[in-house]
Structure formats: structure tokens, C-alpha cells
């Protein structure tokens, strides 16, 4: 690809730094390991937030998820942004298969997908001291975690509206 005008970075072709460090790389193994690790990340996120990020569905758990409409998000955050097409920074295309976290339902209005999550205290516990999901060492920090990566979220405490 052609470099943008004014690029001060040298062309790497022919540089001594162009070298393989640890012999041949097995593309298939890379792809298998990538899928496995990605699945692990998604599973972790699913347990932590009781939300299925692949199908965009709320699950049973500590958080209550609800749709938020009409957030008036700036255009920048709508899914028609540049990352859907050509990645200007990376130069390539986002791969279509593995990054399930980035797969939205493409044609839907992103605002419709915006959800807010609410922490529901477990019975007999202070909401603030409520532990995280299984294997979650950062449970105590939960109140400070923001989910703005994928969803505009707001969180407030609801005192046991849900079934016991």
C-alpha cells in the first residue's frame, strides 16, 4: 500500500531488522490458538457480566440489562464508523470471523443495542461487597468498571426488584 504523504518512517524492506526469530510459524496453530483464547475471553466476559456478547442477549445473573433508547450518541460511536470498513490505522480489514466482540448486528441501529446494566444485590449481602463471577479476582472493583467499550451504560442500584 502507498504510504501517506509526509511519512517520516523508513521503509522496512531490506532492513536487517526484518527477520524471523523463532523459525517457521504455523498459521493453522496460530488461528486455532487465537480462536481458543478469544472464546476464553468471551466466556469470561459472559460470566462477569451475565451477558452473551456474541448474540447480544442478557443472561441470568447479578446484573439486570435494559435497553436504552435515544441516547443521542455522537456519530463517531455509531457502527458506520471507519473501523467497519477499511482500518485506517492498521491498513487492513478487520477479520470477519473470530472477533465476536466486535460483531454487531451490522444493519441495526446501534442506539437500539445500547444497554444499561444494573447491579442487583444478592440477598443477605451488601450490594457493594458483592463478589464477582467465578474466578473473578477483581470483583471488588466492579463498581468502578465502565463498559463504555461496547455499550453506553449507566448503573444504579436497584433493591431487589427481581425474583428472590
Amino acid at each position: 500500500m502507498s504510504e501517506p504523504a509526509g511519512d517520516v518512517r523508513p521503509n522496512p524492506c531490506g532492513s536487517k531488522a526484518c527477520r524471523r526469530l523463532f523459525g517457521p510459524v504455523d498459521s493453522e496453530q496460530l488461528s486455532r490458538d487465537c480462536d481458543a483464547l478469544m472464546a476464553g475471553c468471551i466466556q469470561e466476559a459472559r460470566e462477569r457480566w451475565n451477558f452473551d456478547f456474541v448474540t447480544e442477549t442478557p443472561l441470568e445473573g447479578d446484573f439486570v440489562w435494559e435497553r436504552v433508547r435515544g441516547l443521542g450518541l455522537p456519530k463517531l460511536y455509531l457502527p458506520t464508523g471507519p473501523w467497519r470498513g477499511r482500518d485506517e490505522l492498521g491498513g487492513g480489514r478487520r477479520p470477519g470471523t473470530s472477533p465476536a466482540l466486535l460483531q454487531g448486528t451490522a444493519e441495526e441501529d446501534h442506539v437500539d443495542l445500547s444497554l444499561s446494566c444494573t447491579l442487583v444485590p444478592r440477598s443477605g449481602e451488601q450490594a457493594e461487597g458483592s463478589p464477582g463471577g467465578p474466578g473473578d479476582s477483581q470483583g471488588r472493583k466492579r463498581r468502578q468498571t465502565s463498559m463504555t467499550d461496547f455499550y453506553h451504560s449507566k448503573r444504579r442500584l436497584i433493591f431487589s426488584k427481581r425474583k428472590p
Binding site: 500500500m1 532492513s15 531488522a17 526484518c18 527477520r19 526469530l21 496460530l30 487465537c34 483464547l37 466482540l101
Partner: protein, 289 residues
């Protein structure tokens, strides 16, 4: 008609913000949060089976070479190494993936710190095309997920200006001290021994080593090395003995790296192509201890 002709640095950088540098709360907050971004364990012992310490050194040397050749901002390399160490502290990884990971970490660090970041294509060329841009982008997501998207890690560079402005230093020597300190920081990032040290200690030790090193040739500070170490320790709330030990380790790494470089030079031009010149960052080659 008068014409002005000058070369302008095409890279846009923010000016140093006096409001941030002169407020002690900024330094205190950096000191409070820096530990959050350290790797969770010494991973060669407890996580990795395939990857050996010398392999980390190999990939670090290569990354430094790429960053230098691509004229990356100084923070990019140490930040990329922080990502790599944090990833390896959690995920057992075969050595054949290590170079890809190094490339991914540079890709991320460059995006975070630079106005016009390294491209995936260029990084793949540097791996001798052993990986494809698409693989790099896929693994970018994996690394992001494993780092829990916590990319804004504190690095030793974050402390340098805070430290320098508290030293009784002649202004004209500052840029030289800064440059040497930055080189020491890069050197530390190539060595696993420093991976678990708090960034503030590496920064303080690097500034100390820079000033003491320069002091031998010319007067750069009114303080003796011992008085300097005590002052430095106060600035970042570091234990004086720990700081001394850290500074000595940094000087030892430099010495080692210089000897290696001279050895490489003596071995002549024949083998120059095969040797990793960049195991010594360019700037310290002129330093004598």
C-alpha cells in the same frame, strides 16, 4: 521580500503541560496506580513452559530495533514490553507465537502513544512476513482481551519530567540527562530482571545513573552521587537502599551491553550482519563508565 525556510518536524507533539508537571498530585497519583500495571508473576517460573528468558531478550532486542528504525516515540518500546510481560504472565505461549506477540504489542503501544502509528503491514514485513496482517489484527483482540483493555499503563517515562524538575540542575544539561535516562529505560525494558520493578524506581534509577555517568566528564550537578540518590529516593518515595541497588543494576546492564557491543565490533564486519547491534541502544554507545 523576506523568506523563511526551515525544516519542521512532521510529527506533532503536545507541549509539556506545566499544569500537570507542577502539580504534585499528578506524581502522587502515578505512584499510587503504577503497581496495577505490573505483570502478576515471574512467568518463566510459574506460567511458561516453552519460553525461556533468552527468548524474551531476543524478542525485546528485535522490538527495540524496529522501534528505533521506525523512529517511534520513546515510550512505545517500554509500553509494548509491559503489554508483552503482562500477557505472558497470564497465558502459556509457545515460542513460535512470541514474535507475533511482540509485533502486536508494538502495534498497540504505537496506537496509544503516537500521532501516526505503525501499520500492521510494516510490522509484518519486520517479521520477515512470517505472519500476515490479518493474523496480527486477530491477535490484537486476543491481547486486548487478556489485558482487559487496560492499555494506559504507567511507564518509567511518565516520571522523568516530574523527577527532573525537582533536581537542582542547570537547564542546559537537562536535555542530555533526559536523553541518557531514556536510553537507560529502554535498556531496562530489554532485561527481564526489571520487569517487576515499579516504573518509578526504574525512572529514578535511570536518572541517577544518567547524572552520575555524565558527572565523570563534566559538572552536570552540584550534588554528589550519594546526595543525589537520597534526593531522588525522596521524590518518588523509594527506599534509598533499593534505589541504590537498582541504579547499580542499571549500570551493570549498561556495562554488559557496551562490552557486548565492543565485542561485536572486534569480531569485525564479517559477522556484523548476524549480530544484534541494537542490543545496545544507539545513544549509549558513546557513554563511558
Amino acid at each position: 521580500m523576506e523568506l523563511l525556510c526551515c525544516e519542521v518536524d512532521p510529527v506533532r507533539r503536545a507541549v509539556r503541560d506545566r499544569n500537570l508537571l507542577q502539580d504534585d498530585r499528578v506524581l502522587q497519583n502515578l505512584l499510587t496506580i503504577e503497581e496495577r500495571y505490573l505483570p502478576q508473576c515471574s512467568y518463566f517460573k510459574c506460567v511458561q513452559k516453552d519460553i525461556q528468558p533468552y527468548m524474551r531478550r531476543m524478542v525485546a532486542t528485535w522490538m527495540l530495533e524496529v522501534c528505533e528504525e521506525q523512529k517511534c516515540e520513546e515510550e512505545v518500546f517500554p509500553l509494548a514490553m509491559n503489554y508483552l510481560d503482562r500477557f505472558l504472565a497470564g497465558v502459556p505461549t509457545p515460542k513460535s507465537h512470541l514474535q507475533l506477540l511482540g509485533a502486536v504489542c508494538m502495534f498497540l503501544a504505537s496506537k496509544l502513544k503516537e500521532t501516526s502509528p505503525l501499520t500492521a503491514e510494516k510490522l509484518c514485513i519486520y517479521t520477515d512476513n512470517s505472519i500476515k496482517p490479518q493474523e496480527l489484527l486477530e491477535w490484537e483482540l486476543v491481547v486486548l482481551g487478556k489485558l482487559k483493555w487496560n492499555l494506559a499503563a504507567v511507564t518509567p517515562h511518565d516520571f522523568i519530567e516530574h523527577i527532573l524538575r525537582k533536581l537542582p540542575q542547570q537547564r542546559e544539561k537537562l536535555s542530555l540527562i533526559r536523553k541518557h535516562a531514556q536510553t537507560f529505560i529502554a535498556l531496562c525494558a530489554t532485561d527481564f530482571k526489571f520487569a517487576m520493578y515499579p516504573p518509578s524506581m526504574i525512572a529514578t534509577g535511570s536518572v541517577g545513573a544518567a547524572i552520575c555517568g555524565l558527572q565523570q566528564d563534566e559538572e552536570v550537578s552540584s550534588l554528589t552521587c550519594d546526595a543525589l540518590t537520597e534526593l531522588l529516593a525522596k521524590i518518588t518515595n523509594t527506599d534509598v537502599d533499593c534505589l541504590k541497588a537498582c541504579q547499580e543494576q542499571i549500570e551493570a546492564v549498561l556495562l554488559n551491553s557496551l562490552q557486548q557491543y565492543r565485542q561485536d565490533q572486534r569480531d569485525g564486519s564479517k559477522s556484523e550482519d548476524e549480530l544484534d547491534q541494537a542490543s545496545t541502544p544507539t545513544d549509549v554507545r558513546d557513554i563511558d563508565l
